[in-house]
Protein backbone atom coordinates (compact mmCIF):
# COMPACT_ATOMS: atom_id res chain seq x y z
CA UNK A 1 0.00 0.00 0.00
CA UNK A 2 1.43 3.33 -1.00
CA UNK A 3 1.05 5.94 1.72
CA UNK A 4 2.06 9.53 2.08
CA UNK A 5 4.51 9.70 4.91
CA UNK A 6 5.07 12.97 6.68
CA UNK A 7 8.27 14.70 5.81
CA UNK A 8 9.96 13.70 9.06
CA UNK A 9 9.17 10.04 8.46
CA UNK A 10 10.79 10.20 5.05
CA UNK A 11 13.81 11.73 6.72
CA UNK A 12 13.96 8.99 9.30
CA UNK A 13 13.61 6.32 6.69
CA UNK A 14 16.27 7.80 4.44
CA UNK A 15 18.62 8.23 7.34
CA UNK A 16 18.20 4.76 8.82
CA UNK A 17 18.05 2.75 5.61
CA UNK A 18 21.87 2.58 5.20
CA UNK A 19 22.12 1.40 8.80
CA UNK A 20 19.45 -1.25 8.54
CA UNK A 21 21.96 -4.09 8.90
CA UNK A 22 23.11 -2.67 12.21
CA UNK A 23 19.65 -2.74 13.69
CA UNK A 24 18.76 -5.82 15.68
CA UNK A 25 15.67 -7.72 14.67
CA UNK A 26 14.08 -6.86 17.98
CA UNK A 27 14.25 -3.14 17.35
CA UNK A 28 10.68 -2.76 16.20
CA UNK A 29 9.36 0.56 17.42
CA UNK A 30 5.69 1.43 17.00
CA UNK A 31 5.04 5.17 17.02
CA UNK A 32 1.73 6.88 17.71
CA UNK A 33 1.33 10.62 17.51
CA UNK A 34 -1.25 12.85 19.12
CA UNK A 35 -2.12 14.00 15.62
CA UNK A 36 -3.35 10.51 14.83
CA UNK A 37 -0.44 9.07 12.89
CA UNK A 38 0.57 5.47 13.42
CA UNK A 39 3.80 4.11 12.02
CA UNK A 40 6.33 1.44 12.79
CA UNK A 41 10.07 1.28 12.49
CA UNK A 42 10.72 -2.35 11.61
CA UNK A 43 14.18 -3.57 10.51
CA UNK A 44 12.68 -6.70 8.99
CA UNK A 45 10.09 -4.85 6.91
CA UNK A 46 10.91 -3.98 3.28
CA UNK A 47 9.95 -0.33 3.84
CA UNK A 48 11.79 -0.05 7.19
CA UNK A 49 9.39 2.69 8.26
CA UNK A 50 5.84 1.83 7.34
CA UNK A 51 2.28 2.59 8.30
CA UNK A 52 1.16 -0.83 9.54
CA UNK A 53 0.31 -0.53 13.19
CA UNK A 54 1.17 -3.54 15.31
CA UNK A 55 1.76 -2.21 18.79
CA UNK A 56 1.31 -5.63 20.39
CA UNK A 57 4.08 -7.10 18.28
CA UNK A 58 6.41 -4.12 18.64
CA UNK A 59 9.30 -4.18 21.08
CA UNK A 60 8.88 -0.54 21.96
CA UNK A 61 5.82 1.70 21.73
CA UNK A 62 6.14 5.47 21.62
CA UNK A 63 3.52 8.17 22.06
CA UNK A 64 4.76 11.48 20.73
CA UNK A 65 3.66 14.38 18.54
CA UNK A 66 4.81 15.79 15.23
CA UNK A 67 6.71 18.63 16.82
CA UNK A 68 8.72 16.41 19.13
CA UNK A 69 9.46 13.91 16.41
CA UNK A 70 10.69 16.58 14.04
CA UNK A 71 12.74 18.17 16.83
CA UNK A 72 14.21 14.78 17.74
CA UNK A 73 15.51 14.41 14.20
CA UNK A 74 16.82 17.95 14.02
CA UNK A 75 18.39 17.91 17.47
CA UNK A 76 16.01 20.50 18.91
CA UNK A 77 14.49 18.11 21.40
CA UNK A 78 16.52 17.62 24.54
CA UNK A 79 14.79 14.98 26.73
CA UNK A 80 16.54 16.43 29.75
CA UNK A 81 15.04 19.84 29.11
CA UNK A 82 11.82 19.29 27.16
CA UNK A 83 9.85 22.33 26.16
CA UNK A 84 6.14 22.60 26.86
CA UNK A 85 5.27 21.43 23.34
CA UNK A 86 7.30 18.23 23.66
CA UNK A 87 5.84 14.81 24.31
CA UNK A 88 7.69 11.52 24.28
CA UNK A 89 6.26 8.69 26.36
CA UNK A 90 7.64 5.28 25.65
CA UNK A 91 7.45 1.76 27.00
CA UNK A 92 8.87 -1.61 26.14
CA UNK A 93 12.13 -3.45 25.77
CA UNK A 94 15.16 -1.35 26.65
CA UNK A 95 17.46 -3.54 24.55
CA UNK A 96 15.51 -2.57 21.45
CA UNK A 97 16.20 1.06 22.27
CA UNK A 98 19.86 0.27 22.83
CA UNK A 99 20.02 -1.41 19.44
CA UNK A 100 18.72 1.72 17.76
CA UNK A 101 21.19 3.79 19.72
CA UNK A 102 24.06 1.49 18.78
CA UNK A 103 23.18 1.44 15.10
CA UNK A 104 23.23 5.22 14.96
CA UNK A 105 26.30 5.70 17.12
CA UNK A 106 28.65 6.35 14.23
CA UNK A 107 26.41 8.95 12.70
CA UNK A 108 27.34 11.69 15.15
CA UNK A 109 23.87 13.08 14.77
CA UNK A 110 21.79 14.89 17.31
CA UNK A 111 19.28 12.09 17.00
CA UNK A 112 21.68 9.51 18.40
CA UNK A 113 22.64 11.72 21.32
CA UNK A 114 19.02 12.24 22.31
CA UNK A 115 18.23 8.53 22.06
CA UNK A 116 20.71 7.94 24.83
CA UNK A 117 19.11 10.61 27.00
CA UNK A 118 15.70 9.12 26.46
CA UNK A 119 16.81 5.71 27.63
CA UNK A 120 18.13 7.06 30.90
Amino acid sequence: MSLELPHSLLLLRAWLEPRRALLAANARVAFATLEGERFTLDPSHPELVHRDWDAEGADVVVLTNHQTFADLLSGDFDPRRPRSEHLFMWAGDESAWQSLEKATRESKSAFEAQLGHLRR
Binding site: M1, L3, A32, L34, E35, G36, R38, R51, W53, A55, E56, A58, V61, L63, N65, P79, P82, S84, E85, H86, L87, F88, M89, W90, A91, G92, L118, R119
Partner: protein, 451 residues
Protein backbone atom coordinates in the same frame (compact mmCIF):
# COMPACT_ATOMS: atom_id res chain seq x y z
CA UNK B 1 -7.84 22.12 77.40
CA UNK B 2 -9.38 25.47 76.65
CA UNK B 3 -12.06 26.04 74.08
CA UNK B 4 -11.43 26.68 70.42
CA UNK B 5 -11.33 30.31 69.44
CA UNK B 6 -14.79 30.84 67.87
CA UNK B 7 -13.49 33.44 65.41
CA UNK B 8 -10.82 31.19 63.93
CA UNK B 9 -13.25 28.29 63.79
CA UNK B 10 -15.71 30.39 61.82
CA UNK B 11 -13.00 31.53 59.42
CA UNK B 12 -11.71 28.01 58.92
CA UNK B 13 -15.21 26.65 58.41
CA UNK B 14 -15.77 29.39 55.86
CA UNK B 15 -12.68 28.25 53.97
CA UNK B 16 -13.87 24.66 53.80
CA UNK B 17 -17.40 25.73 52.89
CA UNK B 18 -15.97 27.84 50.09
CA UNK B 19 -14.09 24.80 48.77
CA UNK B 20 -17.20 22.66 49.12
CA UNK B 21 -19.23 25.27 47.26
CA UNK B 22 -16.58 25.38 44.55
CA UNK B 23 -16.64 21.60 44.26
CA UNK B 24 -20.42 21.63 43.95
CA UNK B 25 -20.39 24.49 41.43
CA UNK B 26 -17.62 23.06 39.28
CA UNK B 27 -18.75 19.67 38.07
CA UNK B 28 -16.22 17.25 36.71
CA UNK B 29 -16.85 14.08 34.78
CA UNK B 30 -17.82 11.02 36.81
CA UNK B 31 -14.75 9.30 35.41
CA UNK B 32 -12.47 12.02 36.79
CA UNK B 33 -14.34 11.98 40.06
CA UNK B 34 -13.91 8.23 40.36
CA UNK B 35 -10.26 8.44 39.37
CA UNK B 36 -9.58 11.09 42.01
CA UNK B 37 -11.35 9.06 44.66
CA UNK B 38 -9.40 5.99 43.66
CA UNK B 39 -6.12 7.91 43.79
CA UNK B 40 -7.02 9.28 47.21
CA UNK B 41 -7.84 5.80 48.40
CA UNK B 42 -4.48 4.57 47.23
CA UNK B 43 -2.73 7.45 49.00
CA UNK B 44 -4.70 6.70 52.16
CA UNK B 45 -3.65 8.73 55.17
CA UNK B 46 -0.92 10.33 53.11
CA UNK B 47 -3.57 12.50 51.52
CA UNK B 48 -3.22 14.57 54.66
CA UNK B 49 0.29 15.46 53.52
CA UNK B 50 -1.24 17.70 50.93
CA UNK B 51 -1.25 21.38 51.45
CA UNK B 52 -2.08 24.42 49.41
CA UNK B 53 1.49 24.88 48.21
CA UNK B 54 1.89 21.30 47.03
CA UNK B 55 -1.42 21.33 45.19
CA UNK B 56 -0.79 24.57 43.33
CA UNK B 57 2.42 23.10 41.94
CA UNK B 58 0.58 20.25 40.26
CA UNK B 59 -0.29 21.09 36.72
CA UNK B 60 -3.33 19.83 34.95
CA UNK B 61 -5.71 20.11 37.87
CA UNK B 62 -8.77 22.21 37.23
CA UNK B 63 -10.70 24.16 39.86
CA UNK B 64 -13.19 21.36 40.40
CA UNK B 65 -10.46 18.83 41.02
CA UNK B 66 -8.56 21.17 43.34
CA UNK B 67 -11.62 21.89 45.44
CA UNK B 68 -12.39 18.20 45.65
CA UNK B 69 -8.82 17.45 46.66
CA UNK B 70 -9.15 19.89 49.59
CA UNK B 71 -12.45 18.40 50.71
CA UNK B 72 -11.31 14.81 50.32
CA UNK B 73 -8.01 15.45 52.10
CA UNK B 74 -9.94 16.97 54.96
CA UNK B 75 -12.27 13.99 55.12
CA UNK B 76 -9.52 11.41 54.89
CA UNK B 77 -7.23 13.09 57.38
CA UNK B 78 -9.61 13.36 60.26
CA UNK B 79 -11.00 10.22 61.63
CA UNK B 80 -13.35 7.46 60.67
CA UNK B 81 -16.51 9.55 60.91
CA UNK B 82 -15.69 11.91 58.08
CA UNK B 83 -14.10 9.14 56.06
CA UNK B 84 -17.24 7.05 56.43
CA UNK B 85 -19.31 10.08 55.45
CA UNK B 86 -17.18 10.52 52.35
CA UNK B 87 -17.66 6.92 51.31
CA UNK B 88 -21.37 7.03 52.05
CA UNK B 89 -21.59 9.79 49.47
CA UNK B 90 -21.66 8.71 45.88
CA UNK B 91 -18.87 11.13 45.03
CA UNK B 92 -16.80 13.95 46.46
CA UNK B 93 -19.12 16.57 45.01
CA UNK B 94 -22.04 15.10 46.91
CA UNK B 95 -19.94 14.92 50.07
CA UNK B 96 -19.13 18.60 49.60
CA UNK B 97 -22.85 19.36 49.37
CA UNK B 98 -23.39 17.49 52.64
CA UNK B 99 -20.73 19.61 54.27
CA UNK B 100 -22.48 22.73 53.06
CA UNK B 101 -25.66 21.70 54.76
CA UNK B 102 -23.81 22.30 58.04
CA UNK B 103 -25.60 19.33 59.49
CA UNK B 104 -24.30 15.87 60.04
CA UNK B 105 -20.59 16.20 59.51
CA UNK B 106 -20.31 19.50 61.39
CA UNK B 107 -21.90 17.91 64.42
CA UNK B 108 -19.58 14.96 64.53
CA UNK B 109 -17.55 14.67 67.69
CA UNK B 110 -14.27 16.50 67.52
CA UNK B 111 -14.81 17.90 64.05
CA UNK B 112 -14.40 21.54 65.13
CA UNK B 113 -10.92 20.75 66.36
CA UNK B 114 -10.25 18.84 63.15
CA UNK B 115 -11.32 21.81 61.02
CA UNK B 116 -8.98 24.17 62.83
CA UNK B 117 -6.07 21.85 62.62
CA UNK B 118 -6.63 20.93 59.00
CA UNK B 119 -6.94 24.49 57.73
CA UNK B 120 -3.83 25.57 59.62
CA UNK B 121 -1.93 22.65 58.16
CA UNK B 122 -3.31 23.27 54.69
CA UNK B 123 -1.98 26.81 54.72
CA UNK B 124 1.43 26.01 56.16
CA UNK B 125 4.39 26.63 53.88
CA UNK B 126 5.60 23.04 53.92
CA UNK B 127 3.55 19.86 53.84
CA UNK B 128 2.97 18.59 57.33
CA UNK B 129 2.07 15.12 58.34
CA UNK B 130 -1.33 14.60 59.85
CA UNK B 131 -1.65 13.12 63.30
CA UNK B 132 2.10 12.89 63.54
CA UNK B 133 1.95 13.56 67.22
CA UNK B 134 -0.25 14.56 70.08
CA UNK B 135 -2.75 17.12 68.94
CA UNK B 136 -3.30 20.31 70.86
CA UNK B 137 -5.83 22.97 70.14
CA UNK B 138 -4.03 25.54 68.04
CA UNK B 139 -6.17 28.43 69.19
CA UNK B 140 -5.32 27.52 72.78
CA UNK B 141 -1.64 27.53 71.96
CA UNK B 142 -2.07 31.03 70.59
CA UNK B 143 -3.33 32.05 73.99
CA UNK B 144 -0.33 30.68 75.93
CA UNK B 145 0.57 33.03 78.77
CA UNK B 146 4.15 33.82 79.72
CA UNK B 147 5.02 33.38 83.39
CA UNK B 148 7.99 34.71 85.34
CA UNK B 149 9.69 33.01 88.22
CA UNK B 150 10.23 29.36 89.01
CA UNK B 151 7.50 26.81 88.59
CA UNK B 152 6.41 25.73 92.04
CA UNK B 153 4.78 22.43 91.16
CA UNK B 154 6.78 19.24 91.12
CA UNK B 155 7.83 18.32 87.58
CA UNK B 156 8.17 14.63 86.79
CA UNK B 157 9.14 12.62 83.76
CA UNK B 158 7.95 9.14 82.92
CA UNK B 159 10.96 6.99 82.10
CA UNK B 160 9.09 3.70 82.04
CA UNK B 161 5.78 2.15 82.96
CA UNK B 162 4.86 3.53 86.37
CA UNK B 163 8.34 4.92 86.92
CA UNK B 164 8.46 8.69 87.35
CA UNK B 165 11.62 10.67 87.99
CA UNK B 166 11.94 14.25 89.19
CA UNK B 167 12.99 16.75 86.53
CA UNK B 168 15.21 19.76 87.16
CA UNK B 169 13.92 23.02 85.78
CA UNK B 170 15.92 26.15 85.06
CA UNK B 171 14.68 28.29 87.95
CA UNK B 172 15.58 31.54 86.21
CA UNK B 173 13.85 30.88 82.90
CA UNK B 174 10.44 32.04 81.93
CA UNK B 175 7.79 29.49 81.24
CA UNK B 176 4.41 29.43 79.57
CA UNK B 177 1.03 27.97 80.33
CA UNK B 178 -2.52 27.91 79.12
CA UNK B 179 -5.00 29.61 81.30
CA UNK B 180 -5.80 26.97 83.91
CA UNK B 181 -2.32 25.49 83.61
CA UNK B 182 -3.28 22.34 81.74
CA UNK B 183 -0.35 22.59 79.36
CA UNK B 184 2.73 24.71 78.85
CA UNK B 185 6.39 25.06 77.96
CA UNK B 186 9.42 25.42 80.24
CA UNK B 187 13.18 25.25 80.15
CA UNK B 188 15.06 22.41 81.78
CA UNK B 189 18.31 23.00 83.63
CA UNK B 190 20.25 21.57 80.68
CA UNK B 191 19.05 24.49 78.55
CA UNK B 192 16.58 22.49 76.45
CA UNK B 193 12.97 23.57 76.16
CA UNK B 194 10.25 21.02 76.89
CA UNK B 195 6.47 20.86 77.00
CA UNK B 196 4.58 19.81 80.08
CA UNK B 197 1.01 18.96 80.98
CA UNK B 198 -0.92 18.84 84.21
CA UNK B 199 -1.35 15.35 85.60
CA UNK B 200 -3.48 15.34 88.75
CA UNK B 201 -1.21 16.84 91.43
CA UNK B 202 1.97 17.04 89.36
CA UNK B 203 3.14 18.48 86.11
CA UNK B 204 4.61 15.91 83.77
CA UNK B 205 7.36 16.71 81.33
CA UNK B 206 7.42 15.17 77.89
CA UNK B 207 9.19 15.99 74.64
CA UNK B 208 8.38 18.14 71.65
CA UNK B 209 8.81 15.06 69.45
CA UNK B 210 5.56 13.76 70.88
CA UNK B 211 3.60 16.77 69.64
CA UNK B 212 2.10 17.07 66.19
CA UNK B 213 3.83 19.29 63.66
CA UNK B 214 0.93 21.70 63.55
CA UNK B 215 1.08 22.05 67.33
CA UNK B 216 4.83 22.64 67.19
CA UNK B 217 4.48 25.33 64.58
CA UNK B 218 1.80 27.05 66.62
CA UNK B 219 4.02 27.00 69.72
CA UNK B 220 6.94 28.42 67.78
CA UNK B 221 4.74 31.11 66.30
CA UNK B 222 3.43 32.10 69.70
CA UNK B 223 6.62 32.02 71.76
CA UNK B 224 9.74 32.29 69.63
CA UNK B 225 9.54 36.08 69.49
CA UNK B 226 8.88 36.41 73.22
CA UNK B 227 11.83 37.62 75.22
CA UNK B 228 13.18 34.90 77.46
CA UNK B 229 12.38 32.02 75.06
CA UNK B 230 15.64 32.13 73.12
CA UNK B 231 16.48 28.83 71.39
CA UNK B 232 12.92 27.53 71.47
CA UNK B 233 12.25 28.36 67.82
CA UNK B 234 15.45 26.70 66.63
CA UNK B 235 14.77 23.60 68.72
CA UNK B 236 11.33 23.23 67.16
CA UNK B 237 12.65 23.95 63.66
CA UNK B 238 15.13 21.08 63.98
CA UNK B 239 12.28 18.68 64.76
CA UNK B 240 10.10 19.98 61.93
CA UNK B 241 12.96 19.82 59.44
CA UNK B 242 13.44 16.12 60.16
CA UNK B 243 9.72 15.46 59.69
CA UNK B 244 9.26 17.48 56.53
CA UNK B 245 9.13 15.45 53.32
CA UNK B 246 11.22 18.27 51.85
CA UNK B 247 14.08 16.97 53.94
CA UNK B 248 14.16 13.72 51.99
CA UNK B 249 15.25 15.25 48.73
CA UNK B 250 15.20 18.30 46.58
CA UNK B 251 11.55 17.74 45.81
CA UNK B 252 8.69 17.04 48.12
CA UNK B 253 7.65 13.40 48.06
CA UNK B 254 4.11 14.68 48.32
CA UNK B 255 4.55 16.66 45.16
CA UNK B 256 6.03 13.67 43.41
CA UNK B 257 3.08 11.57 44.47
CA UNK B 258 0.66 14.21 43.31
CA UNK B 259 2.28 14.34 39.93
CA UNK B 260 1.92 10.60 39.74
CA UNK B 261 -1.64 10.92 40.92
CA UNK B 262 -2.27 13.47 38.23
CA UNK B 263 -0.98 11.12 35.60
CA UNK B 264 -3.07 8.28 36.95
CA UNK B 265 -6.08 10.51 36.99
CA UNK B 266 -5.57 11.41 33.40
CA UNK B 267 -4.87 7.90 32.24
CA UNK B 268 -7.99 6.55 33.86
CA UNK B 269 -10.22 9.15 32.30
CA UNK B 270 -12.52 7.68 29.71
CA UNK B 271 -12.26 10.47 27.22
CA UNK B 272 -8.85 12.00 27.14
CA UNK B 273 -8.02 15.01 25.05
CA UNK B 274 -4.49 15.61 23.78
CA UNK B 275 -4.46 18.88 25.68
CA UNK B 276 -4.68 16.89 28.93
CA UNK B 277 -1.53 15.02 27.99
CA UNK B 278 0.31 18.18 27.05
CA UNK B 279 -0.67 19.69 30.39
CA UNK B 280 1.26 17.05 32.31
CA UNK B 281 4.51 17.97 34.04
CA UNK B 282 7.60 17.63 31.86
CA UNK B 283 8.87 14.54 33.65
CA UNK B 284 5.59 12.80 32.85
CA UNK B 285 5.41 14.04 29.26
CA UNK B 286 8.91 12.81 28.52
CA UNK B 287 9.20 9.56 30.35
CA UNK B 288 9.35 5.83 30.19
CA UNK B 289 6.15 4.11 31.26
CA UNK B 290 6.31 0.88 33.25
CA UNK B 291 4.79 -1.32 30.56
CA UNK B 292 3.55 -1.33 27.01
CA UNK B 293 0.07 -2.05 28.32
CA UNK B 294 0.03 1.18 30.30
CA UNK B 295 1.00 3.16 27.23
CA UNK B 296 -1.47 1.35 25.00
CA UNK B 297 -4.15 1.92 27.64
CA UNK B 298 -3.36 5.62 27.47
CA UNK B 299 -3.61 5.54 23.70
CA UNK B 300 -6.97 3.83 23.86
CA UNK B 301 -8.35 6.67 25.90
CA UNK B 302 -7.14 9.48 23.74
CA UNK B 303 -9.79 11.38 21.87
CA UNK B 304 -7.94 11.75 18.63
CA UNK B 305 -8.05 10.70 15.06
CA UNK B 306 -8.10 6.95 14.89
CA UNK B 307 -7.02 4.62 12.21
CA UNK B 308 -9.80 2.52 10.79
CA UNK B 309 -9.85 0.30 7.78
CA UNK B 310 -12.56 0.90 5.30
CA UNK B 311 -12.84 -1.16 2.16
CA UNK B 312 -9.14 -1.65 1.65
CA UNK B 313 -8.04 1.94 2.12
CA UNK B 314 -6.54 3.54 5.16
CA UNK B 315 -8.38 6.62 6.38
CA UNK B 316 -8.33 8.79 9.43
CA UNK B 317 -11.46 9.50 11.38
CA UNK B 318 -12.10 11.94 14.16
CA UNK B 319 -14.76 11.09 16.67
CA UNK B 320 -16.31 13.19 19.33
CA UNK B 321 -16.90 12.13 22.89
CA UNK B 322 -20.37 11.15 21.88
CA UNK B 323 -21.07 7.56 21.12
CA UNK B 324 -24.08 5.45 20.39
CA UNK B 325 -23.50 1.80 21.17
CA UNK B 326 -25.72 -0.54 19.32
CA UNK B 327 -25.59 -4.19 20.28
CA UNK B 328 -27.73 -7.25 19.84
CA UNK B 329 -29.96 -6.36 22.74
CA UNK B 330 -29.42 -2.71 23.40
CA UNK B 331 -28.83 0.75 22.06
CA UNK B 332 -26.99 2.96 24.52
CA UNK B 333 -26.28 6.63 24.06
CA UNK B 334 -23.08 7.70 25.77
CA UNK B 335 -21.22 10.92 26.24
CA UNK B 336 -17.60 10.82 27.41
CA UNK B 337 -18.09 7.16 28.21
CA UNK B 338 -21.02 7.78 30.52
CA UNK B 339 -24.50 6.62 29.57
CA UNK B 340 -26.93 9.47 29.21
CA UNK B 341 -29.85 7.61 27.69
CA UNK B 342 -30.58 3.91 27.58
CA UNK B 343 -33.37 2.18 25.85
CA UNK B 344 -34.29 -1.34 25.05
CA UNK B 345 -34.21 -1.17 21.29
CA UNK B 346 -33.43 -4.50 19.72
CA UNK B 347 -31.12 -3.92 16.84
CA UNK B 348 -29.12 -6.30 14.80
CA UNK B 349 -26.94 -5.18 12.03
CA UNK B 350 -24.86 -7.04 9.55
CA UNK B 351 -21.36 -6.19 8.51
CA UNK B 352 -20.59 -5.93 4.79
CA UNK B 353 -19.93 -9.24 3.10
CA UNK B 354 -21.28 -11.10 6.08
CA UNK B 355 -24.65 -12.78 6.12
CA UNK B 356 -26.76 -12.37 9.21
CA UNK B 357 -23.73 -12.30 11.43
CA UNK B 358 -24.18 -9.91 14.31
CA UNK B 359 -21.48 -7.77 15.73
CA UNK B 360 -21.29 -5.52 18.69
CA UNK B 361 -20.90 -2.13 17.18
CA UNK B 362 -22.19 1.38 17.20
CA UNK B 363 -22.11 4.77 15.67
CA UNK B 364 -19.78 7.70 15.97
CA UNK B 365 -20.32 11.26 14.87
CA UNK B 366 -17.28 12.52 13.04
CA UNK B 367 -16.00 16.05 13.25
CA UNK B 368 -17.57 16.71 9.84
CA UNK B 369 -20.96 15.81 11.38
CA UNK B 370 -21.18 12.61 9.38
CA UNK B 371 -22.10 9.46 11.24
CA UNK B 372 -20.19 6.26 10.68
CA UNK B 373 -20.96 2.77 11.84
CA UNK B 374 -18.30 0.79 13.56
CA UNK B 375 -17.88 -2.82 14.49
CA UNK B 376 -15.20 -4.57 16.46
CA UNK B 377 -12.73 -6.34 14.27
CA UNK B 378 -12.88 -10.08 14.96
CA UNK B 379 -9.10 -10.51 14.98
CA UNK B 380 -7.14 -7.28 14.87
CA UNK B 381 -6.49 -5.32 18.00
CA UNK B 382 -5.71 -1.69 18.67
CA UNK B 383 -4.05 -1.47 22.05
CA UNK B 384 -5.83 -3.72 24.48
CA UNK B 385 -9.15 -3.55 22.64
CA UNK B 386 -10.31 -5.06 19.40
CA UNK B 387 -9.71 -2.74 16.49
CA UNK B 388 -12.73 -0.97 15.08
CA UNK B 389 -13.88 -1.15 11.50
CA UNK B 390 -15.75 1.84 10.17
CA UNK B 391 -18.48 1.83 7.58
CA UNK B 392 -20.91 4.18 5.93
CA UNK B 393 -24.51 3.96 7.10
CA UNK B 394 -25.15 2.27 3.80
CA UNK B 395 -23.48 -0.84 5.19
CA UNK B 396 -26.55 -1.58 7.30
CA UNK B 397 -29.34 -3.60 5.77
CA UNK B 398 -32.64 -1.79 5.34
CA UNK B 399 -34.40 -3.50 8.23
CA UNK B 400 -31.59 -2.63 10.62
CA UNK B 401 -31.51 0.95 9.35
CA UNK B 402 -35.23 1.30 9.93
CA UNK B 403 -34.87 -0.13 13.44
CA UNK B 404 -32.01 2.22 14.19
CA UNK B 405 -34.01 5.18 12.85
CA UNK B 406 -36.91 4.30 15.12
CA UNK B 407 -34.65 4.07 18.20
CA UNK B 408 -32.79 7.28 17.45
CA UNK B 409 -35.86 9.29 16.39
CA UNK B 410 -37.34 8.64 19.85
CA UNK B 411 -34.45 10.66 21.26
CA UNK B 412 -34.68 13.66 18.93
CA UNK B 413 -36.51 16.91 19.72
CA UNK B 414 -39.11 15.95 17.12
CA UNK B 415 -39.60 12.55 18.71
CA UNK B 416 -40.20 13.93 22.23
CA UNK B 417 -43.50 13.13 23.83
CA UNK B 418 -44.14 16.70 24.92
CA UNK B 419 -43.06 20.17 23.87
CA UNK B 420 -41.01 20.85 26.99
CA UNK B 421 -38.87 17.77 26.48
CA UNK B 422 -38.59 18.67 22.82
CA UNK B 423 -37.26 22.12 23.67
CA UNK B 424 -34.82 20.66 26.19
CA UNK B 425 -33.43 18.27 23.61
CA UNK B 426 -33.10 21.06 21.11
CA UNK B 427 -30.86 22.98 23.44
CA UNK B 428 -28.81 20.20 24.99
CA UNK B 429 -26.98 19.45 21.77
CA UNK B 430 -27.57 15.72 21.82
CA UNK B 431 -31.06 15.94 20.38
CA UNK B 432 -29.84 18.02 17.46
CA UNK B 433 -27.11 15.50 16.88
CA UNK B 434 -29.63 12.66 16.81
CA UNK B 435 -31.76 14.63 14.36
CA UNK B 436 -28.77 14.79 12.05
CA UNK B 437 -28.40 11.02 12.31
CA UNK B 438 -32.08 10.49 11.46
CA UNK B 439 -31.73 12.73 8.40
CA UNK B 440 -28.66 10.81 7.27
CA UNK B 441 -30.47 7.49 7.70
CA UNK B 442 -33.43 8.89 5.77
CA UNK B 443 -31.11 9.93 2.95
CA UNK B 444 -29.77 6.37 2.66
CA UNK B 445 -33.27 4.88 2.76
CA UNK B 446 -34.54 7.30 0.10
CA UNK B 447 -31.60 6.48 -2.14
CA UNK B 448 -32.29 2.77 -1.82
CA UNK B 449 -35.93 3.24 -2.68
CA UNK B 450 -34.96 5.23 -5.75
CA UNK B 451 -32.50 2.64 -7.02
Amino acid sequence: MSQINPKSLLENKAFLLEQAQKAADTPITPAKEAALLSAIESLGQDVALLNERALTRVTGLDEGLKARAVIAAFAMAYGPELKAELYRSSNIGEFAKNIMKERGVWDLHGVDRAINRFVTMWRSDVPLTARDGQELDLASIASLEVRDGPMKDKLLKNVGPGDWTPVSVDPHAKWAAFEGESFGVLRLDNGEWAPWFQNDWNKDQFTFQELSSASLRAIRERLSDESGFRGLGKQIDRILAKRSPMAEGSQSSVLARMQKLDLNEVSSTDALHPIDIMGLPAQARVSRLPSKDSLLGLLDRLVQPAVGEERGTLQLYQWSEREIRVGDEFADILHAGQPIIKNGAHLTFTAPNQTKRTYQGGLVELSNRKFRLWTFHPVERQGSFPAKNYFDLDALDTASLQGLRQAVFAMTPEGAKDAVMGMARKFDGYGVSFSRLVHQIDAVLVERQAS
